[in-house]
Amino acid sequence: MNFKNFREYLSWLYFQYLLITGIYVLEPWEKSIFNSVLFSAIAMVVYTSYVFIPIHMRLALEFFHEIFGGQPESTMTL
């Protein structure tokens, strides 16, 4: 399929999203409700991961560093 520009491609992707989730058969205001609920759920997931993933990654790296990488340091000090 040939898309003349990026906007057409995006609108085709939106159409696929409508078809797969079954929203295509609903009335426009129902589509808006579903889209806003989904969008807010995804926004919350993104925000939570933005806030918490760096902290968790740092803690996890420290944990594994202490187990594997920490041993030579402690024997050196002894």
């Binding site: 399929m1 085709w12 992707l13 696929q16 409508l18 078809l19 797969i20 989730t21 079954g22 929203i23 295509y24 058969v25 609903l26 009335e27 129902e30 579903f34």
Partner: protein, 550 residues
């Protein structure tokens, strides 16, 4: 001659030139528990693979259920709004005074109709304003309130290619030359019969038709009825009763099921086209007899159809006949879609499998599909048909077939047999076979999942998701092609499909146009789910579908 062993029937099938589609199907029957059309051993499964029922990838089933789930949730939401009063209810409701009674409108079927079917019902019951030939005219209708009400704009959509009518041999035509005999008979007999067969509605033209049908099928005698559905539902009760056993295929038509229930016999259902299931049931029936008394069954009747119209699959007639002979059961064959449409000279599945028609005890068929008329027939031995003339409910109470319809069937059968002196009939049969083969081959090549036997002119293209079903019907109508889409409850909930009926009246150009638009719509809606290896180089296009949908 009937083939009584599996090995011989295999050779016979090969000899008839039935197509083997063995392009790597072994990988697609991964989940035998889920596959409802599977069979056990090697012989039967090779035959089954000739009829392909490819399973779609897992993400398709997941998305289908998700789509139905989301729309059901919105259905509950809208029902809540209607109950609270925030929204006007357009459907039938119980009266205020009867609110405490047992509810009339709250079961799932009404829920489904209210909340899913009503939203999308502009794709069904479209009014047609010309004859249902290879092209037809539709009346344009629009809805202002999301399909609760329609209004006609006054315009027609002309020359829409008709891929939904059961017009297999193209006899739905209004050519004045061909219909001259019909017009003459209307002059002679009038349009209505105004009586039943047993009173004074038995016209000489009916006798002529019955003789012709018996000759056409190669049996001793036949009887015709005014309505195809009533042929099944009114005659099965005349043939079997209490104390008899009916073994009915899983996917039998409603008319057969209704007739079986009306008869009062015990009904057992075997898996679709599955000979092991049927044999197991026959063995159990013979060994154990009737449920409590263990007496022998008075009669065992196996009910199958020639072509199953929702699947496009063809019955395994040689094997069924072998089983029937071994266990001394009777066979009722409903050739509604297969008479005239399959077989080298259009005689139906008995000719397709080269089986002696005398082996089938009751041959039933309808004139609605291949003959462009209406009504049905039952054919078989003379004793059977004479018995039915006395005892059939339809003969006693239903009015007889009207003369113009009878003459249409007579001229159609004469055309097929070649008795009108032209080769038009055999040309149409060959054209239908060629169109079927071409259409199916091209669809498979494009990458759609298609069910059914390679010889059947009924082609179901699987669409699965409810949104895509609706979008498909609308897009095809925009491109001036009329298709029939079917969803739940006529099909299983995950297997919504579009059913194409190929006709002998379609020219190669029309089929090419349909295929071209199907290709476009298939790409637009991502419908090409087939994962088998295709000879052409477009196997890459399905990878993009996987990437976008998952």
């Amino acid at each position: 001659m009937a083939r009584s062993t599996n090995g011989d029937s295999l050779k016979q099938l090969n000899h008839n030139g039935l197509k083997w589609d063995d392009s790597g199907k072994n990988g697609y029957h991964k989940k035998p528990a889920e596959q409802k059309h599977g069979a056990g051993n090697g012989v039967a499964s090779r035959q089954n693979k000739q009829e392909s029922f490819e399973q779609a990838p897992m993400y398709v089933a997941v998305c289908t259920y998700m789509g139905f789930g989301i729309v059901t949730l919105f259905g509950y939401f809208r029902d809540f709004l209607r109950a609270v009063g925030l929204e006007k209810c357009n459907l039938a409701q119980e009266r205020e005074e009867q609110k405490d009674f047992v509810p009339l409108y709250q079961d799932f079927e009404n829920f489904y109709t209210r909340n899913l079917y009503m939203r999308v019902r502009d794709n069904w019951n479209r009014p047609i304003c010309s004859l249902p030939g290879p092209v037809f005219d539709l009346m344009e209708r629009v809805s202002d309130d999301y399909n609760w009400t329609f209004r006609f704009t006054g315009r027609t959509i002309p020359n829409v290619i008709n891929m939904g009518s059961y017009n297999y041999l193209g006899f739905a035509e209004n050519n004045a030359d061909f219909l001259k005999t019909v017009a003459d008979k209307v002059q002679q007999y009038g349009a209505g019969v105004c009586s039943t067969r047993q009173e004074i509605g038995n016209l000489s033209i009916h006798e002529e038709l019955e003789q012709l049908v018996a000759n056409f099928l190669g049996v001793e005698s036949a009887m015709t009825f005014g309505m195809g559905f009533a042929t099944n539902s009114m005659n099965i009760p005349a043939l079997v009763g209490k104390g008899c056993l009916i073994l009915s295929d899983e996917l039998n038509h409603t008319s057969l099921i209704l007739g079986a229930r009306l008869s009062g016999a015990t009904i057992r259902v075997f898996k679709h086209n599955n000979m092991h299931s049927l044999e197991k049931m026959l063995k159990e029936a013979i060994c154990c007899g009737q449920p409590r008394t263990h007496r022998a069954w008075r009669k065992i009747l196996i009910m199958v159809e020639g072509i199953y119209s929702m699947e496009g699959s063809v019955v395994r007639l040689p094997e069924v006949i072998a089983l029937k002979k071994k266990y001394k059961a009777h066979l009722y064959l409903d050739e509604a879609h297969s008479i005239g449409a399959v077989g080298a000279t259009g005689r139906g599945v008995t000719e397709l499998f080269n089986v002696n028609p005398a082996d089938v005890d009751v041959m039933m068929g309808t004139f609605t599909k291949s003959f462009g008329a209406s009504g049905g027939y039952i054919a078989g031995k003379k004793e059977l048909v004479d018995y039915l003339r006395c005892h059939s409910h339809s003969a006693v109470y239903a009015s007889a077939m009207s003369p113009p319809v009878t003459e249409q069937i007579i001229r159609a059968i004469k055309c097929i047999m070649g008795k009108d002196g032209t080769t038009e009939g055999i040309r149409r049969i060959r054209q239908l076979a060629e169109n079927t083969r071409y259409f199916r081959a091209r669809l498979k090549e494009m990458g759609f999942i298609i069910y059914g036997n390679d010889d059947s002119p009924v082609v179901p293209v699987l669409l699965y998701m409810p949104g895509k079903v609706v979008a498909f019907a609308r897009e095809m109508l925009q491109r001036k092609i009329g298709v029939v889409v079917v969803g739940f409850p006529a099909t299983p909930i995950t297997e919504a499909r579009a059913r194409f009926c190929v006709s002998a009246a379609h020219t190669r150009a029309m089929l090419n146009q349909v295929l071209h638009h199907l290709n476009e719509v298939g790409d637009l809606l991502c419908l090409k789910f087939s994962r088998r290896k295709r000879p052409s180089s477009c196997s890459l296009s399905e990878e993009t579908d996987v990437g976008l949908d998952s």
